[in-house]
Each structure stands twice: as C-alpha cells, then as structure tokens.
C-alpha cells in the first residue's frame, strides 16, 4: 500500500523508511538524516504470543489508514469558489517509463480522475489546463466550469507527443494571466505535474515568483522524479505544497490532495455576493432544440433564467450571458467543506465504552471486524483492504459515540457527517 | 445419370485428412475425397477410424514437464 508522505513532519509511520521530511535535512535528533540509524521496516514487526505476525501487521495497517485521513478540521474559511490552473509537463522527460506505462500516460489518466473528482467536490469552481513543452506554454482549455471541456481536451492525441524542455516560467505567467480575470472572492491556484528536473525560462523566474505572491496565486506541485530547489521554493513561498511521487498510487494521493478546497489565508481575499442563476429543467418533448453549449439537439435542458438560452448540463456558465448556472443541490454539495467532521480519537483500552456496538454499523467490538478483514481489494480509499483486528474503536469527540475503523474512514471520506452528532 | 451414395461426411483439418488418407491405403473406406477439409466415407468404418486417429495422435504427442 502506498505510504502517504503527505505531512512528512507528523507522518512518521514506521514502515516508511524514506520519509525524511523535505524541510531541512536535520533529523529528529539534530543530526543529519543520513547520520541517523537506518530504520528497518522489519524491526517494528514482532511476533505475538502465538508466533504469528498477523495481528501486529494489521495493527500497523490500521494506524496507517487512520493516520491517512486525519486532517485539519477546524472550520476555517475555505475558498469554496476556486479557480485552478492545471499545468502538465509535456517535455521529453515525460517519456520515461518509471511510472507505468509512461510518465505522460500515467499523468494524463491521473489528470482525468482528478478533474472528475475536482468538479464533484467543487461544483461551482473553475479549471483551466496548460501544457508546457519546447520551452513554451500552451493553453489547452480556458477557465470553465464544465468538466466535459477539459476531459475532451485531455483526450487529444497531441498531448502524447512530447518535445524539448518545459518552461515553468512561461507556464506560470500564462496561468497568472488566466487567473487575473478570476474574481477576487475565489481562490487562485496552480497545480503542476512536472517530470523534468530542469526548466528552460526566458527570464528571471524569481520575478515571476514575486508576481505570483502579489497576485496571491497558490502553487502546488507534484514532481515525478525528485525534489528541485526552485520548484520547492515557489511552492513554499506561495503557500502551496511540493510533493515527490513515489509510485502511481502515491501520485494519485498527492494529486488528490488538491481536490478539497484549501483554507484562505490571505487577508485580501474579499467576500462577495455572487450572482447565480437557478435554472428550471425544461423538457418540452415536442421538438428537440439545440443547446448553446454543445449545439446538440436534445429534448431536456435547463433554461438560463436571464437570457433564456438552453444549456444541457449543470453546473456551468451560461454560454450567452455568462451567468453561473447551478442547482441548489450543487451548492449543498460543497457544504461539507465548510463544516468538516472532527477527527475521531482512538479509544485506548481501559476507559469505559459508551456503546456496546459500533454506533454506525452496529458491529460488536468483541469479534474481529470481519468486514474489514474481508474488504474487497477495490475499496474506496487507496490501499484499503487491510485493517480489521483489534478493538479498533474510534470516538467522536462531540457526540461521544464509538465507531469502528471502517465507519470512521467511511464517515470522513464519503459521508461527511457523524451519525451521532447530526 | 445421378448417383446418390449413403455415407458419412467428415469435416476435419487438413492434417487429420492426411492421416485418414494414409489409413485409407490399408483398407478403402473413403468413398470420395471432396476437398482438403471434407471427406465422404463409409459410415461403417467411422468408429474404427476415429479410434485409429485418436491413437495415432496420442502416440505423436509428448508431455512437456510431466509431473514426477
């Protein structure tokens, strides 16, 4: 299973032997990382009484899974309305086969998944895709709230032919130019997937960095090869994060880190009243009429309340008058970002149990969690299928109800509200 | 003048056909050699021919990595 080195500081999981935090090279005891005693993954594995290592391995899996989804949950203001530019490196380096089948292939598939998830989680946000190759940056899609546009652009064969070196500066400049038009109440972010260790820039990238900072663009990167100082510095100074992907799974995790909206830090982020249209579903079944977005004939559609033009999918922007069109559920879809569930605390054996069974699914504590043990390989969260065993109790700090690990993860990743608290 | 002959139509791959032709040299059971995937033979010999063919094929196959 992919070991998330997301927050390398607090994610000191034992099995992970190469998670020296990218911060400074000083290890925990002040010495350099390479001076510390080499941590062997098998050192932490002890046999239990019966001489089997199953229990402890399961225990470790639990801790990993639990840790994986522990994240900051205080109700900070988040930029629900986001404007993200996805920069994809299309230089020759992306031909390497260290990610199967090739870096570019893996990246494109990931990007597909990312876009789907992004619009599912942030239905009223916008995205734009920029590709960089041969020292140039090219805009594949402009800012738009319709996932179809982006997915279509990614399908384009041209994405596969790679050339020359990437130019981070050009890409960032272009991104900034794109984001300039984004209203101030929305967050401005850049997410780069880069495989190259170099960037071939026309000017001084430091100035670009300054510009980024003033424009309050948050840059995050997932690098496929190694840590590069300038990249990392850009991320750090713009308040973004810089990751190096270990493998495909890990890359997915890291990229998806950017799916939930980031907290708004800058004071300059204004809040506005955005004018939005709530169109009515129109299905006049006499004669099919074309939609303004794809110019395809169809019976059903949504009528823009302002200009009365017909679009076929929500959410989107009216192609005629530019009014953002959403339906009430779409707004509701974003609520869980605003009021996140608190993390559950693991119940240490000894303190009294409130519930005789898991408050969520009613599994009894005594028996090892059958379901977790037998979980299908394709569970929702990455690296699932482990877990089970042990008491595995987790308690919601607010309603003081106990949950099993399965429910704990499920509640925080899919359900987004605690059955006890609501 | 039309002739109608009672018998059995055999559909087979060319290799098997060759084998049958070879068997045919011993005792004539092939009524007509239609084309290289079809033969028309005397029904009475069918059983025997099939067995013969099976044995022949069997004797010509060799187990690779036969278990100990």
């Amino acid at each position: 299973m992919a070991k998330g080195n997301k927050e390398p500081a607090d994610d000191e999981d034992y099995i992970d032997i190469d998670d020296t935090g990218p911060g400074d090279l000083k290890g925990a005891d002040g010495g350099y990382a390479w001076e510390e005693e080499y941590k062997r993954s098998w050192d932490v594995i002890q046999e239990d009484a019966s001489g089997s290592i199953q229990s402890i391995v399961l225990g470790i899996n639990d801790q990993l899974r639990h840790k994986r989804r522990v994240r900051d949950t205080e109700a900070i203001q988040r930029g629900i309305i986001r404007h993200v530019v996805l920069i994809i490196d299309q230089s020759e380096n992306m031909n390497l086969r260290d990610l199967m089948p090739t870096r570019i292939q893996a990246t494109l598939t990931m990007a597909n998944a990312f876009i789907g998830e992004y619009f599912d989680q942030n239905p009223i946000s916008q995205l734009s895709i920029i590709a960089t190759k041969d020292g140039l940056a090219e805009k594949l899609t402009d800012l738009s709230g319709n996932p179809m546009d982006h997915l279509g652009a990614l399908k384009d064969k041209a994405n596969k032919d790679l050339a020359g070196e990437p130019s981070l500066q050009n890409a960032l400049e272009l991104a900034m130019h794109t984001l300039k038009r984004a209203p101030t109440h929305g967050s401005r972010e850049v997410v780069c997937v880069i495989g190259s260790l170099t960037t071939c820039d026309p000017g001084d990238i430091a100035q670009t960095l300054e510009a980024l900072k003033t424009a309050q663009v948050r840059v995050s990167m997932v690098h496929l090869a190694a840590e590069v100082h300038v990249f990392k510095r850009i991320c750090k100074e713009t308040g973004g994060v810089f990751y190096v992907a270990q493998n495909e799974d890990n890359m997915k995790d890291l990229l998806f880190e950017n799916v939930p909206p980031p907290p708004i830090v800058s004071a300059k982020a204004t809040s506005d009243m955005i004018q939005m249209g709530f169109p009515i579903k129109a299905n006049n079944a006499e004669v099919p009429t074309p939609c303004v977005c794809h110019h395809e004939l169809g019976f059903v559609g949504y009528i823009c309340p302002r200009c009365k033009s017909k679009v076929c999918t929500l959410p989107t922007d009216c192609d005629v008058c530019g009014l953002p069109l959403v339906s009430a559920p779409h707004l509701a879809r974003s609520y869980h970002h605003l009021f996140p569930e608190e993390n559950f605390k693991e119940v240490v054996s000894g303190d009294m149990a409130v519930d005789s069974t898991c408050f969520g699914c009613g599994a009894v504590w005594a028996e090892p969690l059958v379901a977790a043990a037998a979980a299908a390989p394709d569970t929702s969260e990455p690296g699932g299928g482990g877990g089970g065993g042990g008491p595995g109790k987790y308690r919601c700090p607010r309603c003081k109800h106990d949950y099993c690990l399965e429910c704990d993860i499920f509640i925080h990743e899919t359900l987004h509200n605690c059955p006890g608290c609501v | 003048m039309i002739k109608a002959v009672k018998g059995t139509l055999i559909e087979c791959d060319p290799a098997a056909r060759e084998v049958l032709l070879k068997l045919n040299t011993k005792d004539q059971f092939i009524i007509e050699d239609l084309d290289n995937t079809h033969l028309f033979i005397n029904s009475t010999h069918l059983e025997r021919v099939q067995r013969a063919l099976d044995e022949l094929m069997n004797s010509n196959t060799y187990e690779v990595g036969a278990p100990p």
Binding site: H185, I274, P279, I280, C407, T414, H416 | -
Partner: protein, 312 residues
C-alpha cells in the same frame, strides 16, 4: 458501475419513522402502516434467500437499529408463519412498540433543536449508509443496496446540510433511496433524495389502503428489475433554490462566497456567516474566457453591459 445481474443479491435498509406525535396526526394509524410494511418486508425476504435486511427506526430523540436486534428476542413460535419471516416481524414490531411507548425515551441525547413532529431523519440515513457500507465492503460478490424510508414527520430545516451530505454519499455509493411519505405535505428534502439517487418518491393517499400495493409495485424491484421494468415517473421537482432571507423561490439569486447561503437581494452583511461584503457584485467574468465566445470578444462585452444592467 457494472450492470446488475439477475443472480446478484441485494441489501435493503428500511428506515421507519416512528415519531409518535407525527403519527398521531396521520389518518393512517401507525399500527396499520407497520402491518403493511412488515408484509412488504416478508415479500422482500421471499424474493431471494440471499437478500439482506436491516431495519432502523427513528423518532425525534433517537435512532435505533431494530433488526438485526441487539438482544436476541425470544418469541413464542407461531407455526403458521415461515420461520425466517417470524423472527424479523417479531423483532421489528416489538422494537417499534417500545420506541412508541417511549419507554426508553430519555436515553439518547436530549433533542437538539428538533421540534415535536420532526424526526432525526439524517441520523437514520447516515447510520443506514454505515450499515450498507459495512455489508458491501464485507462481501466478495457484488451487493446492490437500496433504502426504503417510511416517513411521516415534516422536514427539520436544520437537518438540511447533513441530509444533503447523506444524499450525495448515497449517490456516490449507487444506493437507491425510495421514499414513502405517509401523509402531510411533500417532504422537499426527501423528494430530492429520491430524485438525486434515482429512487421513487411515493405519496400515500390519505387513508393508505393502497400503500402496500404501491410498495409492492414500485419499491420491491431490485436494481436488476428496475433495469427491465419501467419505474413510475416522478413528477420533476425543480431544484430552484429558496432564499435564506425570505424563503422565496428565486431564479437569479445572490450567493455568499463564504458560506454559500442564498439571498434574493443584495445585503451588506451575510446573515448566516456575518461576512462583510465588499460592495461590488462579482460578475462572472469567466464568460469572456469561455470557449464559444473566445473567437469573437464582442458578445462578451455585450454580456458585461447586460449583466451590469440587470444589476443596477
């Protein structure tokens, strides 16, 4: 999501609303409704031996899992009833009785902003999803799960967000939610639940004779059957939002960029999250950068003028 096969077992979670005060207003007595529901459950169990069942009951204070029961209730045998059915029926009925009689009314948390005649529906649905999740994860073969909600109470506005979260979770998991609203006005929340998850929304006529027949006809079908047979057409409900300030239905509203609460007119401060708005309406400039209009910037300009018009 793969196609449902005929041999795939299914999982049904029945959520019963046993809010006494709500039922008291209902022309259809709770006992009667339960009888019909129990028959429906039996019918479901009769469909496939592998079929799995969970029964939850909720009132304004608590939400309990009636079947499978916490304690194995011992019921005297009735030889006329098929064993498998009898266990379920007895447990469900006894459980509901105990909840109605309010014997254990005080356990569970003291009600949180929920008035009489409202039910902890979102909690019930959340727990239902937990059960479904557990079963689906625990089964190697594909299990198609759905929910049937027997609702009598009114919507509790404060549940809106949590209920919405639940509905979307269900949608992601491919769980159908069938709603059977017994009396009173339509429940807007539950209507959306049915609409979004692709389930059916039934409104039982007042006396509720035909309830069982309707259930049998619409809600008994598993995913496979729903592929084959036509579902009754729900009247399309419009997703137009109601503004938080005057509860009007709005076509074009103003949304707070922080908390996404909807208003029908401009306000200096968001009444929900107390955010001060910078006094200029954000036009969605993105229109200019839109694929269609990129070639010819002219209409874009027109757009701006237009939108500013509507705003002035």
């Amino acid at each position: 999501m793969s196609e449902p096969l005929e041999s795939d077992p299914s999982l049904l979670v029945v959520v019963l609303d046993v809010n006494a005060s709500a039922w008291s207003k209902s022309p259809l007595t709770v006992g009667n409704a339960l009888q019909q529901m129990v028959i429906f459950i039996n019918a479901y169990l009769a469909l496939k031996p592998e079929n799995n069942l969970v029964v939850l009951a909720a009132n304004k204070r608590e939400c309990k899992c009636l079947y499978p029961a916490d304690r194995t209730t011992t019921i005297e045998r009735d030889i006329r009833v098929y064993e498998q059915f009898r266990v379920v029926d007895a447990t469900v009925l006894s459980g509901v009785q105990s909840m109605l009689s309010g014997a254990e009314a005080m356990v569970g948390d003291p009600n949180l902003g929920i008035e009489e005649g409202q039910t902890l529906m979102s909690r019930a649905l959340s727990r239902a999803l937990c059960h479904i999740h557990r079963v689906v994860e625990g089964t190697k073969s594909k299990v198609w799960s759905r929910m049937l909600v027997l609702s009598a109470a009114d919507d509790a506005p404060r549940e809106y967000i949590s209920l919405m979260n639940t509905i979307f979770a269900a949608q992601r998991m491919g769980v159908l939610i069938d709603i059977c609203k017994v009396f009173g006005g339509d429940s807007v929340f539950l209507q959306q639940a049915a609409e979004i998850t692709g389930g059916n929304y039934l409104k039982v006529d007042t006396n509720g004779e035909s309830m069982l027949q309707t259930l049998m006809f619409t809600c008994l079908a598993d995913h496979y059957t729903r592929e084959v047979l036509v579902a009754p057409t729900n009247e399309t409900i419009d997703f137009r939002a109601t503004c938080f300030c005057h509860k009007r239905v709005v076509d074009i509203g103003y949304v707070c960029s922080v908390c996404l609460s909807i208003f029908c007119e401009l306000a200096p401060v968001c009444s929900t999250c107390q955010t001060k708005f910078s006094f200029r309406i954000a036009r969605s400039e993105s229109a200019q950068s839109n694929g269609v209009l990129k070639q010819s910037p002219k209409p874009a300009a027109a757009t701006v003028a237009m939108s500013s018009l509507t705003l002035s």
